[in-house]
């Protein structure tokens, strides 16, 4: 695992604490959920995506175009398309460094992964900002992945 990736952001300390304790549960009987870090698979990340439900092939240009529009609203304040760091790391090469489903998990479920992924935690020390959860719908996340693939030269 020498691949370096993505980045993060620290939100308000309240959210950070919330996340560290497993997040507030619904209802009045919220319990502090203790999960073993060893449950975490750094190849897959944590979230609803895996190699079975994220399948990539030849570039879907229309989808990449949608991804561009969404990322201009929700992502490009902090990321460049080059490999240059802005607030977070540049996107160039991310699809070579990470599996498609890892990317999908991270952009839809950043808080859990920021808390568990050792490399992402190391990245937090550099960026000092937790990547915001931008509430991406599944299709939005998928189209952003397609835009990242286009950016990395997939045809």
């Amino acid at each position: 695992m020498k691949k370096k990736i993505i980045y993060f952001t620290i939100v308000g300390s309240a959210l950070l604490l919330g996340s560290c304790s497993g997040g507030p549960e619904k209802g009045n009987n919220q319990n502090i959920e203790k999960r073993e870090v060893s449950d975490y698979d750094p190849e897959r990340g944590e979230g609803k995506f895996d190699e079975n439900n994220v399948v990539v092939g030849a570039l879907d240009g229309a989808m990449a175009k949608k991804g561009q529009a969404i990322s201009e609203t929700k992502c490009m304040s902090c990321h460049k398309l080059s490999d240059e760091k802005l607030v977070g790391p540049g996107w160039k090469g991310v699809t070579d460094r990470r599996t498609p489903h890892w990317i999908m998990n991270f952009i839809t479920n950043p808080d859990a992964m920021i808390d568990k992924d050792p490399e992402v935690q190391a990245q937090l020390e550099l960026c000092l900002v937790r990547m915001p959860n931008q509430n991406l719908a599944d299709e939005e996340a998928r189209s952003i992945l397609e835009y990242m693939r286009e950016n990395d030269g997939v045809k």
């Binding site: 939100v11 609203t73 509430n135």
Partner: protein
């Protein structure tokens, strides 16, 4: 013992010295009270408590049983902390027929209901001074709508809702001549020219939108409080009236002469039918109706000019008066709807009226010989179920639990009195500290009260808290009412003067919360869709800054080309899409509030620079580890300067020539 407490309570009114402290006040809290109000860190309260902010004009939200303050929702008063009344988008919410009004006095709260039970959708609140109703949306905990009430003055008997919130009803405290050209009359002509108006404001079941459906014109008296009938008394409304003497000066003497004032019973279903049948008269008035749109993140204010008025004197069978001792304040309907409790604040007993007997008296015309201003007056005994003897001094307001008991606040004797509705027997009394106005039981106005907790809202605290100069805090006192005896658990201070409040189980509200505004649905006219679209546009002497925020920078963060004499509008779009991540925005020297922009929202700050120079701007709401870096500069040059509009961030700058 009772007599002693009474005396002491009255002294407390005069707010004299520590020596008046009732004996035994320290001992009324029993050993396990602390554990009953302890909500461990990270745990949630059981109840949302919506508490009037009195002369602050705002609505506060507390948790019970902890008494922790969660939020102050600005309604009728400006709030620079939240930009309420300061941002361009919220200014129209405080518009009235008198123009922009920055303050009011919020007394009562009424939760929306479905089948006589609070449903957790909205809270309605009243503006007492410049008569208005507000609707707070419980998905966003924001004021969604404000409607002004014409022909009204001192909107005190308000807001009270029907069993399905078909109407929120608002009665005028001060009778006044109807609005318009004929209202310039001698005050001495009160009896002839002054009229009461009761507004029936309909509520759309789905959107919550309010509409002034009609008003009832009544004899000129003061309306104090009200309650809608429910269950057995469904379709009727009850209003407490004082100053039936129709005095217009020195009311403390002249409006306290009559042995009995009235509870006014209104057949509101019949009123609705009469209006539908076109019996109302359209009157020319002027009132503002303000709405906040969640998609444009902006409010609009419309001045409306007509209201349908039904004169109750023209429609026999619509309204009846029931004598009620001595200036009644509370007028409360039991959970089954069978009983109506009048609380005469100068009376030494509590009359309980029977809805069934009222109906019989109407059918048999068991009326007093003399009507009142043409309205039949039901004989007191014919309507009376019974009296609670010697309940205490100064009964004000009554609510109910789930076990057949009523609880009445006693202002003069500073206590809460628990009594059995059927037997009319006092079963318990507990001192309060001091001078309780309203009280509330959780769900205590509904068909099935939740019970468990009662909160007394006190006007005077005197020696209960660390002193804070001439003005001391006002307070709430929480009681456990699950047992036979009421048990005092907790004191907690409130904002403004707390009048009425309501409580609802947290489970009915907490899961419906909006967490963000979806940026894909942002329809603000000055929305900036992503940082690439951030820009500065000059239009004559207006400079529009389309600015975005995300952790942890503003875009653009360097702006030049603004000139003295320009009016600058910062249209700030928060690009965040995560819960609990508002960004604030402020600029040096702005005679304005800050902005607090929710995730996905666009909000506008108007700034008129008053001198040349460099003006920093920054995010005011701590947002990330790099919050202190979330800043920028604006350069203001003299009028006519040749400095072009130039803006940008990092290594990307645009110059507009």
């Amino acid at each position: 013992m009772l007599r002693k407490k009474v005396t002491i309570g009255m002294l407390a009114l005069a707010a004299i010295a520590v020596s008046c402290k009732p004996k035994g006040a320290e001992n009324v809290v029993s050993g396990d009270a602390a554990s009953k109000v302890y909500v461990a860190p990270g745990k949630y309260d059981e109840i949302y408590n919506f508490v009037s902010g009195g002369f602050s004009g705002q609505l506060s939200v507390y948790g019970l049983p902890s008494g922790r303050l969660f939020r102050v929702i600005p309604v009728f008063s400006v709030d620079p902390e939240k930009g309420w009344g300061f941002s361009e988008e919220t200014k129209p919410m405080l518009n009235t027929s008198h123009g922009f009004v920055p303050w009011d006095d919020l007394h009562h709260v009424e939760m929306s209901m479905t089948d006589g039970m609070a449903d957790g959708k909205w809270v309605f609140v009243n503006a007492n001074n410049t008569p208005r109703l507000g609707r707070v949306d419980l998905k966003t905990f924001r004021t969604a709508e404000i409607i002004e009430l014409p022909n009204s003055a001192g909107n005190h008997s308000s807001p009270f809702g029907t069993e399905n919130s078909e109407y929120i009803v608002a009665g005028t405290r001060f009778s006044v001549p109807a609005d318009g050209d004929a209202s310039d009359v001698s005050i001495e002509t009160y009896k002839e020219n002054f009229k009461g108006h009761i507004s029936f404001v309909s509520v759309d079941k789905n959107s919550g939108e309010m509409d002034l459906a009609f008003q009832l014109k009544t004899p000129g008296v003061n309306f104090d409080l009200a309650r809608c009938g429910k269950g057995a008394s469904s379709g009727w409304f009850f209003f407490s009236c004082y100053n039936t003497e129709q005095a217009n000066t020195l009311l403390e003497v002249n409006a306290s002469k009559n042995d009995k004032d009235f509870i006014m019973a209104v057949n509101w279903k019949k009123a609705e039918e009469l209006v539908k049948a076109g019996k109302g008269k359209k009157e020319a008035v002027k009132y503002a109706h303000n709405k906040f749109n969640e998609e444009t993140h902006s409010a609009t204010s419309e001045i409306k000019t007509s209201v349908t008025v039904l004169d109750v004197a023209d429609h026999p069978g619509l309204v009846y008066f029931i004598p009620c001792p001595k200036s009644p304040h509370g007028c409360d309907v039991s959970p089954t709807g069978e009983y109506i409790v009048g609380s005469g604040k100068l009376a030494a007993l509590l009359p309980v009226f029977s809805f069934e007997k009222i109906q019989k008296a109407i059918a048999n015309k068991t009326f007093e010989k003399e009507s009142y201003a043409g309205i039949p007056v039901i004989k007191y005994e014919a309507a009376l179920y019974g009296e609670v003897e010697k309940p205490g001094l100064g009964p004000l307001h009554t609510e109910f639990d789930d076990k057949g008991f009523a609880y009445t606040s006693m202002f003069l004797s500073s206590e809460i009195v628990k009594w059995n509705i059927k037997e009319l027997k006092v079963v318990d009394r507990q001192p309060t500290f001091y001078s309780t106005g309203h009280l509330m039981v959780v769900g205590g106005n509904t068909k099935k009260p939740y019970g468990k907790y009662l909160v007394a809202y006190n006007k005077i605290t005197k020696d209960r808290y660390l002193p804070t100069g001439p003005e001391l805090c006002q307070s709430a006192q929480l009681f456990d009412i699950s047992g036979d005896k009421m048990e005092l658990l907790l004191d907690f201070p409130t904002i403004g003067e707390p009048h009425y409040a309501q409580g609802i189980p947290a489970s009915l509200i907490m899961d419906k919360q909006a967490k963000i505004y979806d940026i894909n649905k942002n329809k603000h006219a000055h929305f900036t869709n992503g940082e690439a679209n951030a820009k500065v546009v000059r239009k004559g002497n207006e400079v529009h800054v389309y600015l975005t925020t995300i952790r942890s920078h503003l875009a653009p963060d360097n702006i030049e080309g603004v000139q003295l004499g320009d009016v600058v509008y910062f249209h700030v779009t928060n690009l965040e899409q995560d819960w609990d991540l508002p960004h604030g925005f402020a600029v040096k020297g702005a005679d304005n509030g800050e902005l607090l922009v929710m995730p996905g929202e666009t909000t506008t700050l108007k700034w008129v620079p008053d001198r040349i120079g460099i003006f920093p701007m920054y995010c005011t709401d701590f947002c990330s580890a790099l919050h202190q870096e979330m800043t920028g500069y604006i350069r203001v040059s003299p009028k006519g300067s040749n400095v072009p509009i130039k803006y940008g961030l990092g290594d990307k700058f645009v110059t507009v020539n």
